[in-house]
Each structure stands twice: as C-alpha cells, then as structure tokens.
Subunit: 303 residues, 2 copies
C-alpha cells in the first residue's frame, strides 16, 4: 500500500519528520515553531527559519509582479522572526529560475528583496541561483532574541486573552499577500510592554493557526465570531477564519495583563478575539447567537 | 531589448546582484564565497550558506535514489562550511514536493538528510514543506569558525602552491555525487596544521572553481595537467577539469609551508597540482609537452 503526500497532508508530514530529527543540547526549540531557537553563547540566542515560495503554488507570474514576489519571500520570513519576539539580522536567498526568464523580471524580484531587506535592517549575505522548471524563491533567515525571551506557541495558559493585529481575510484576493507589512514593530512593542505568553504569525489562515497554538499549548481556544476584525476585501467571518497569508500576529496574554494591550500599536489595530477557555487541544467559535461550535483545523492547504 | 537569464549566465547573474545588496557592519564576508562570515559577539563567527537541488537540473528520480538526494542536499552545504575552515552546526530544510509523490520516497529523502546530519553533527532544526511541480530541496546551514580564522577565496598569493584532495571527475557518471564524503575532517586537519591562504570546495568543476580563486584573489593559477589526480571513472584530464560535483577541496598554501602538506589525510589523497604564478586573474594549463594554454572558465552550467 503506497501512501502519497497529498493523502497525508502537510501537518502530518511535518509531525512525522519532527520526531525523527536528531537533537542537540544547543537547540532550545527545534522543528515546530515559527523559528528554531539556538544557543550560541553570549546574551542573545539565534532564531533560524526558512520559507519557500513556488510559482503555481504561492503565486503566478501573471498575477503577481516580480517585485511583490521578492518582497513577500523575505517579508514572510521577517514575520516568522517577529512572531518569536526577535529581530531579523541576516538572510540567504536560493533562487530557481526557468532558462528563458527575462533579466528584467529577475531584477524586479531582487528589487523587492532589497527593498524589504533595507526597510527591516536585514543583510542579504548569500545564496544560490539555479535553473528550475518554475520560479522558486527560498529565503533562510537568522534573527536575534535575548536569551530565554523567545515567545513560543506552547506557552498559552487557561485564562489568557487572545488578540490579533490588523484585519483578517482577503489577502490573496486583494493582492495584499505580496505587499504586506510584517508586524516587526508591533511585536517589538509587545515584547517591551506586555508579558506575551504565546505568539504566532498568521500564514495558513486564523482557524489553522489557532490550532497550532491549541495543539502546542494543549489548550482550548474560544473565539468570538462577532469580535473578529474582518478586512474589507474578506467581508465574511468565514473568510477571516479560512483565508491564508494575513501575516498578522495572533498572541495570548495573561488576563491580569490584558488591560495593558492597547487598541492599536501605531496605526495597526489590535483586537481582543477570545480566551483560552480550558485544557485540551481544541478551537471553538462562539457564534453571534451564543452557540458554540467546534472549529476544524482547515485553512490554506499546501498539498 | 530583453535579455534572458540563459544569455547572461550564472556567474554574471550573481555578480550583477552582489553589488546591489545592502551591507552591514557585522557582515565580514557577504555574497561571493562558499559561505557568508558574520560577527555575532564572542570568540566564534557564524558561517551562513545555502544550496538548492532541483529535480531535472541536479538529479532525476529515475537515476538517483531518494536517500542519495537527501544526503547530497545536506552534504554539499557541509562541504561549503568545511571549505571556509568551519564546523557545521545547524540546518533548516525547505522541501517542495509534487502532489502525488509517495510517502516512502519522502521518507527516503529524510533518511538521507538524517544520516548525513548525524554523521557530521548537524542538528536539523526546521524548515518548510510545500507543493511544487518537481522535487526541490533547499538546505540553509549555519557553521562556526573562530573569529578571524575563516579561509576565503581571495587570499591566494603569488608563489603559493595549489593542492586538491581526492580524485577528480566522473562524479555524476559514477553516482558518487549522491554519496560523496564532504571533506570536513580533512579541512579541519588543514586548519590545525597548515597555514592555508585560500580554499574552495569543487562543485562546478575544477576549471570553473580555479577561476573563482583566480578572480577573487586576482592571481594567475598555473596547473600541471600531468599532476591532476584523475578518477577512475573520469579517465581523461578533460573530465577531471570540466566535470562538476567533485566536492573535493582546492586550496593554496605558501611555498615555505607547502612541505607540511601530507600526501594524504587519513585515506584521502592530497595532490600538488600547480602554483600561483603571477598577478592578474587567469588560469593556465601546462600540458605534458610543456606548452602553456589558457583555461577558460567552463564547467557545470546552471543555465
């Protein structure tokens, strides 16, 4: 009996591989969070992550300009580092290109990467360029976080209040997915002012990413449908829950400290969307009529 | 007039991008060597590199077993770190997979990655798994080198003697490209016992990689055809010069210290193949009849 990757699904695939990886004493957090946390000596720990964009899976050259693809390839990695409470520092970029692709297109891709790098203080220090049947852009990023201060997915506790930045849904439909602002400044503000228990960046859709925290922390997250900040493009709660690529922050704060979370950080709204209601991994949606329904872990599917 | 990537070629493409990258004070060496060298505080510096393998460009599933592809994806990165005089520590792996690929194949890929990781003490700490039209494996690696000790391509000097490890050519034809031994132990031995001026790992073919040192150091490398250690599969000097994926070390040592380079490190032969003859970037081949001919920078072409 031969099983295909499509039948197994991405989450199970990653889980399957995780337990088989060798560990080392210097690995504080390995596979399973937005970034690995690594000891290196000194006051800071290293954050290490990668994100790959594939033409046809994450974008098409017809609908997304080259510069947007370059921006997104780096920005989604910066978003991962931000969600760990860290600051991005260095990146390497591996690029696969079809043989006949125009140099002007490649220049656009690099312009997007460079602009994003400058804006967020990331040095592009290397990489690889190879021939491929479609455009592939894989960015690996190194960030810095004070030792012991990385914010993980697995520390949400019963009683915590849940918040999201920005507005959710419609990112792909509106083109925002290729020009979004990674919430680095907002995450850094939170690190200085609020004791954040758990944090994740929204890449696969709120419902799916709520489950990431629920599973990692083994808690039940209860979300108020009426409170969700639905984007103008998304319009429906369903889109706000299921659409991927928002690249906003979802975070958990102890009830006693929740009053310290402002309505906005700069111009970016921050919205209370629910609570950590109980132990045991689950996600529940409280509808406008008060009924509670279980939220299944769907969202952007990679396979 | 629109230029394609194929017309420009890989070397020119990387050069074109290099000068456009932002730099930072903490970047000791950026794009253009086997790995970037980064300051991080403390006694050690970080080495950071990535290498991408694409189905159809670097391998086919028909001719290379999954485990070989996994091994190679990590081993070629370890080879890069070794060639900088460093020790590999952590890696993240981004994988693109076609929808219908068998899980048993993916398990084979991961077995190869894991075996290589264990053998060389590398912790696999994260990555990304996405859908792609062909298999894509991109590994980004972090290594460690004592501050100021990284061996670069640009420090070869007139008078230096040139050496290579192992035997060259026929790597793809023999299948060695998917099960080679990255020369980490040999590079570390050299770091302890010999003042190495410049070093590179042979990935694109000796002729092409000689040019990398010649250009970076602005020197003329003169190679004796008769001295080249030709592998049994390659048989001809031409193959030893032009075939790619040897993953052996090419290094330059001051003439006065060249006597300290042994004939072998463990079981791996080390061969003197020529000298740094003059200033100015060039590579020359001394034929068996004593004639000197220029060696053009060809080898494995990515585009």
């Amino acid at each position: 009996m031969s099983v295909t990757v499509a039948e197994l699904g991405e989450v199970q695939l990653i889980e399957r591989l995780r337990c088989r990886m060798p560990r080392a004493a210097s690995v504080r957090v390995g596979i399973g969070d937005d970034a690995a946390v690594l000891r290196w000596g000194g006051r800071d720990e290293l954050l290490f992550a990668s994100d790959m964009l594939i033409e046809g899976t994450h974008f098409t050259r017809r609908t997304t300009p080259a510069q947007g693809i370059g921006w997104k390839a780096l920005a989604c990695n910066i978003s991962d580092i931000a969600a760990m409470g860290g600051v991005p520092r260095f990146a390497v970029v591996s690029i696969g290109l079809p043989r006949g692709i125009r140099l002007s297109w490649v220049d656009g891709l690099y312009r997007g990467l460079r602009r994003c790098a400058r804006r967020y203080g990331v040095a592009l220090v290397g990489g690889d360029t190879v021939r491929a049947p479609c455009v592939v852009v894989d960015v690996a990023i190194l960030g810095r976080v004070p030792a012991g201060r990385a914010v993980l997915r697995r520390r949400a506790r019963v009683g915590d209040r849940l918040f999201v930045t920005g507005r959710l849904g419609g990112s792909l439909a509106s083109g925002r997915h290729a020009r979004f602002t990674p919430r680095l400044r907002e995450a850094q503000w939170l690190m200085r002012h609020v004791p954040v228990h758990a944090m994740i960046d929204l890449s696969d859709g709120l419902a799916s990413d709520l489950w990431q925290i629920a599973r990692a922390s083994r808690v039940t997250l209860r979300i108020d449908a009426a409170s969700l900040p639905v984007s103008r493009t998304a319009r429906t709660v369903r889109h706000a829950l299921m659409d991927g690529e928002d690249f906003e922050l979802l975070f958990a704060v102890a009830a006693h400290a929740a009053g310290g979370v402002p309505r906005a950080i700069g111009r970016v709204p921050v919205t209370a969307i629910g609570v950590v209601a109980a132990r045991g991994a689950a996600v529940q949606l409280v509808n406008r009529d008060g009924r509670i329904q279980p939220l299944i872990p769907t969202g952007f599917k990679h396979f």
